[in-house]
Amino acid sequence: MSRKSEEPLLQLENLSAYFHDKRIIKDINFSVGRNKVVSIMGPSGCGKTTLIRCVNRMHEMSPGGTATGKIIMDGEDLNKINTIKVRRKIGMVFQRPNPFPTMTIYENVIAGYLLNGIKIPKKISHEIVEDSLSKAALWDEVKDGLNKKGTYLSGGQQQRLCIARALAMNPEILLLDEPTSALDPKATSRIEELVVQLKENVTILMVTHNIAQAARVSDDTAFMYLGELVEYGSTKEMFTVPKDKRTEEYLTGKFG
């Protein structure tokens, strides 16, 4: 193993995020190893979405959104890199499905290329579309209607389309914000399998409310409460012997 692969891929140092004057997440510190799946858990409103939106610097686009602290990826401070470069390396799937309504299913998958004006040969784009849709467990359902508009799919299908769209860009890190909250059990387990498979090439941060899901797919878990990182560590350990009382209460369903 090279030295590089032992170093964490992503490090958050004293990360705080604000909406106007309100501090939403507070001094978060943790690092994520290469090719790991990290679940981010915590009660609704504790700042999970805000946290992952800081990582690809989407948070600063929201009205009133600012952040302090460092986000280091591969030794590089992401705050010092152009946001466009950051977002090409870090893919994101949002809590609510958001396919582009003007684009067909096909175009939605390669939207990242269309948007950035990256020309790709027909053959390769077909491959990207089929590959990404298969990984997102959507190919079989849409392969005969790739020219239909993406918004004509069901909510769960739209979410998988958005996953395919993010995968098509070959990101190094993938941010998933409750990717399965709109999906049925079958599609959910396909996505979970996908997450495990993707680990070979991608590092994944996944927000989830589903404790069993976190246990099934994630190596590490971050537990947040009211904007603070309460506990961070191996999922297995945290779920069997939580160190903090709040983690324990959350895991046993006392609140959340």
């Binding site: 989407m58 893919g91 949002f94 958001n98 582009f100 003007t102 939207a111 269309l114 948007l115």
Partner: protein, 296 residues
């Protein structure tokens, strides 16, 4: 309980009758125009539309100069107004959503829509026409000043608010989720505008264009004051001309013979039909552009 049902029914009746009244207004308008223009239609047939001469003394009436005047001024105005409208809409919906300058710009656009057309006509006559005359002199063409071009320019200013307000509203109504998706894929502001925001807004942008066009087709006062009011067919846009609405307004009081009056009314009918056709085609185009799931 009976009272509730009674109220419910009564309310429905009121709504329905309101709907019927609204439906009847254009229908009755059309009937009036058709009935009153019947003598001219009988006398000239389809030739009315294509004849170039409009000569009340010899009782020869042809609509072509006015039909051409209406269409050319309106579309030329649209061509001139569109870039400005679109730019203002983009600025206000994407680059400057709030702030002093945005507020001033927004009010200025709204003000443009509220100015009476006779004021535009005055301004055109006092400022625009002399300016164009100077330009024509410099270019060595007959310095009419009053011309198809002057009318188009005035119309262009008048319709900017219609086209831009509609486009701005549609663009600022695009769901933030879609824009975020585009940014998260590494799009720049310009790329997001060009590939996501603008394509998603086509139907609204076009609806604004249609509204503006409708306004231009029917505008009377401002056009009359700067177009030159000749009954001859113009051969280029630097020549004077006339539009259907303008000639009706100008000659209505002098129309002494029945056929003269009837011919003017037929011009009105023609304007009505042209507007209806353009609106119909416009709706079809808007339908084609309409997009599911674009709103907030």
């Amino acid at each position: 309980m009976n009272k509730d049902i009674f109220m419910e029914k009564g309310f429905k009746v009121i709504l329905k009758s309101a709907g019927i009244v609204i439906l009847m207004i254009p229908a009755l308008l059309l009937v009036t125009l058709v009935v009153q223009s019947a003598p001219a239609v009988k006398a000239y047939g389809a030739g009315f539309i294509f004849r170039q001469t409009w000569d009340p003394v010899r009782e020869i009436y042809g609509a072509l100069p006015f039909l051409a005047g209406t269409l050319v001024t309106s579309f030329l105005a649209l061509l001139i107004a569109f870039p400005f409208s679109f730019a203002v809409a983009l600025i206000l919906s994407e680059y400057m959503k709030e702030g002093v300058i945005a507020t001033i710009l927004k009010s200025a656009v709204e003000l443009l829509a509220g100015i009476p057309s006779v004021i535009y006509g005055f301004w055109g006559l006092l400022v625009l026409v002399p300016l164009i005359r100077k330009l024509e002199l410099a270019a060595g063409i007959p310095p009419y000043g009053v011309s198809i071009l002057s009318a188009s320019l005035i119309l262009a200013i008048m319709i900017i608010p219609y086209a831009s307000t509609m486009a701005r509203e549609v663009m600022s109504m695009i769901s933030g989720d879609i824009k975020e998706a585009a940014y998260s894929l590494g799009g720049t502001h310009w790329e997001v505008l060009r590939k996501v925001v603008i394509p998603t807004s086509y139907s609204g942008i076009f609806a604004g264009v249609l509204l503006a066009l409708g306004r231009a087709l029917g505008e009377t006062m401002a056009v009359t004051m700067v177009i030159g009011n000749t009954n001859k067919l113009f051969t280029n846009i630097f020549e004077p001309g006339n539009t259907m609405a303008s000639v009706i307004a100008n000659e209505f009081t002098e129309a002494v013979s029945d056929l003269y009056l009837s011919s003017l009314i037929e011009l009105g009918l023609l304007l009505f039909i042209v507007t209806a056709i353009i609106n119909f085609i416009g709706r079809l185009i808007i339908k084609r552009f309409e997009i599911k799931g674009a709103g907030k």
